[in-house]
């Protein structure tokens, strides 16, 4: 599948934003966070900022952004529609949660619950986003629970790394708790991606050139001529293919930038304190940011659509 910048940015940015939102709500409920309005402002700015930027960019690749509001009508069947609703719905509790905390420093009791409600919304939104892809039978790579697991894991992991960084900046007491939790999430994310790739490499769609043409009974099917000698929309969007070698290279880059570096940096940050710790947390964030973009680019680039079976692919 063609990796569109806007969609890569949308899924990674809003993912991190929602992740951070969940962390804030949960950590707050567990009383791990300070009242500091400055910290709250920074944290919510980061979270809601990333979410909003992501959502906006997602409308960029629409043919008719001005009609985006119509996208909510089909929540009964469409995950894209549901995502829109979930995203919108999440703004309510998230907004109030942020507002009271920042303005009045109020964040307990009912407000904490409100926070958890926002967190639920965030998780739901991430789930819908993942399901947009996971629900597509046409793309075997995505049509697996691992898609959501990865999206959730990466959302929480990147959100977590952001929180670690902020916690270091504000030198919060429980910064190490967050760091340790992040370590676990990096591990979790690492495992989910490992399993995702195992699934991806481990088989093919049951659809083949033979089932696509229904000519299996007559023998092995191979393309003689495509319907058009130049590329059309279908091939530009669905026909995108990435060389095995190239993919392997990018996977290793992901291993390093998305997992190894943040893991080490966060680990070391436990050992040291003060500015070095902050710097290490920052390194973790930067590296993960780069890594998640590569990972997401690959998520699309490595996904093969069954329509390629009509254009010369023997399996999908």
């Amino acid at each position: 599948m063609h990796p569109a910048k806007s969609v890569i940015f949308f899924t990674t940015a809003s993912g991190a934003g929602y992740g951070l939102l969940i962390w804030l709500a949960v950590a707050n409920a567990l009383g791990l966070l300070p009242a500091s309005w400055g910290f709250a402002l920074a944290a919510f700015a980061a979270s809601l900022g990333l979410i909003t930027a992501g959502l906006l960019s997602s409308t960029m690749h629409l043919g008719h952004p001005e009609r985006a509001w119509r996208a909510m009508s089909q929540w009964r069947s469409s995950w894209l529609s549901r995502e829109g609703l979930a995203a919108l719905a999440t703004y309510g509790p998230a907004g109030l949660f942020a507002f009271f905390w920042i303005v009045f420093g109020a964040r307990d009791g009912l407000l904490a619950l409100l926070g958890l409600l926002a967190a639920a919304g965030a998780l739901a939104t991430v789930y819908c986003t993942a399901m947009i892809y996971a629900s597509l039978k046409t793309i075997r790579a995505w049509h697996t629970p691992w898609t959501f697991i990865c999206y959730a894991a990466f959302s929480l992991m990147t959100g977590g790394l952001l929180l670690c960084f902020l916690a270091r900046l504000w030198d919060l007491a429980d910064a190490n708790v967050f760091a340790s939790a992040s370590l676990l999430l990096i591990g979790a994310a690492f495992l989910s991606k490992a399993f995702y790739w195992k699934h991806l490499d481990g088989g093919h769609s049951q659809s083949t050139a033979e089932t696509a043409t229904g000519l299996g009974d007559f023998g092995k099917v191979s393309m003689l001529e495509p319907p058009h000698t130049e590329k059309n929309y279908l091939l530009k969007e669905m026909g995108f293919q990435i060389a095995r070698k190239h993919a392997q290279k990018l996977r290793s880059i992901t291993w390093v930038t998305l997992f190894a570096v943040p893991l080490v940096a966060t680990g070391l940050s436990l050992a040291v304190a003060g500015t070095p710790a902050t710097l290490l947390a920052f390194v973790g964030v930067l590296s993960a940011a780069l890594g998640i973009i590569v990972e997401r680019w690959l998520f699309f680039a490595e996904a093969q659509h069954v329509v390629t079976l009509y254009y010369g692919a023997s399996s999908a």
Binding site: R76, S78, L80, G214, K220, N232
Partner: protein, 252 residues
């Protein structure tokens, strides 16, 4: 609950005969010709006279070779493909706006260009590559089953049929209600063992394809004349035959 109709009164669709399709592209071009001024007008073309010509088409003709491993016997099959007007159309259920819909009246799957936001998700969901995005208009387009032609009183009777069907020179294309087991097309599909593409994708397509027939060639049992000719005379120059033939005309 889904945005697909529970049932449709008709299941209009195409039946395409892979046995006699010669891959002439007439159906694809006549489709383009009718529809570029029709319900989804225009079928935009990009860089039409330039270095990278491409455009919106509702019907495209692939060609494949099929080789039997053991016998080494093979065949070339021309393969036209357009929207299959699926009963369980994922292009409809994934659509966030309802722009992609299936008509209750006749089962035709259409795009409402006035509300389509151009998110392209439907084209990802369609296993058959039947959705064509119009960059210029920012909306999705697709085979309309010539909805503005098949019912059109302003056309002569024999023209009230999908453009791709009436134009096919070999008569490889058929059209009708595949939901009605007694309809002409259903009888034809029944008789010829018509099949659906990629059933495993679970879209329950309406269109049917008729398989290549058993060929009356050596590859099959029913060669017209299995026996070889019996020579009446084996002499090198056939002198014997020449002698026999002098008065051959008499004996016929």
């Amino acid at each position: 609950m889904t945005s697909l109709p529970e049932t449709t009164n008709k299941q209009l669709g195409l039946v395409i005969d892979l046995d006699i399709c010669v891959g002439c592209h007439a159906c694809a071009v006549n489709c383009k010709e009718w529809n570029t001024g029709g319900h989804s007008a225009p079928l935009t073309d990009y860089d039409p006279y330039g270095a990278d010509p491409s455009g919106v088409w509702f019907n495209r003709i692939h060609s494949f070779e099929v080789e039997e491993e053991e016998t080494g016997l093979g065949r070339t099959v021309h393969f036209p493909k357009s929207c299959l007007h699926c009963n369980d159309a994922p292009c409809v259920t994934v659509c966030p706006t309802g722009a992609s819909y299936k008509r209750e009246e006749d089962g035709i799957v259409l795009v409402n260009a006035d509300i389509c936001i151009g998110c392209k998700l439907c084209s990802w969901a369609c296993p058959y590559g039947a959705r064509e995005y119009d960059e210029d208009e920012g909306v999705m387009k697709k085979c309309t089953l010539c909805v503005d032609k098949i019912y059109n009183e302003n056309l002569p009777g024999e023209s009230r049929v999908p453009a791709c069907v009436s134009t096919c020179p070999v008569g490889a294309r058929h059209f009708g209600d595949l939901g009605d087991p007694l309809s002409d097309v259903s009888k034809l599909v029944e008789a010829r063992g018509g099949f659906a593409l990629m059933p495993e994708q679970g879209c329950d397509p309406v269109n049917r394809y008729l398989p290549p027939r058993q060929r009356a060639g050596p590859s099959s049992s029913q060669t017209v004349a299995p026996r070889l000719l019996e020579h009446k005379d084996e002499s090198a120059d056939g002198a014997g035959l020449l002698a026999r033939w002098v008065d051959k005309v008499l004996s016929v």
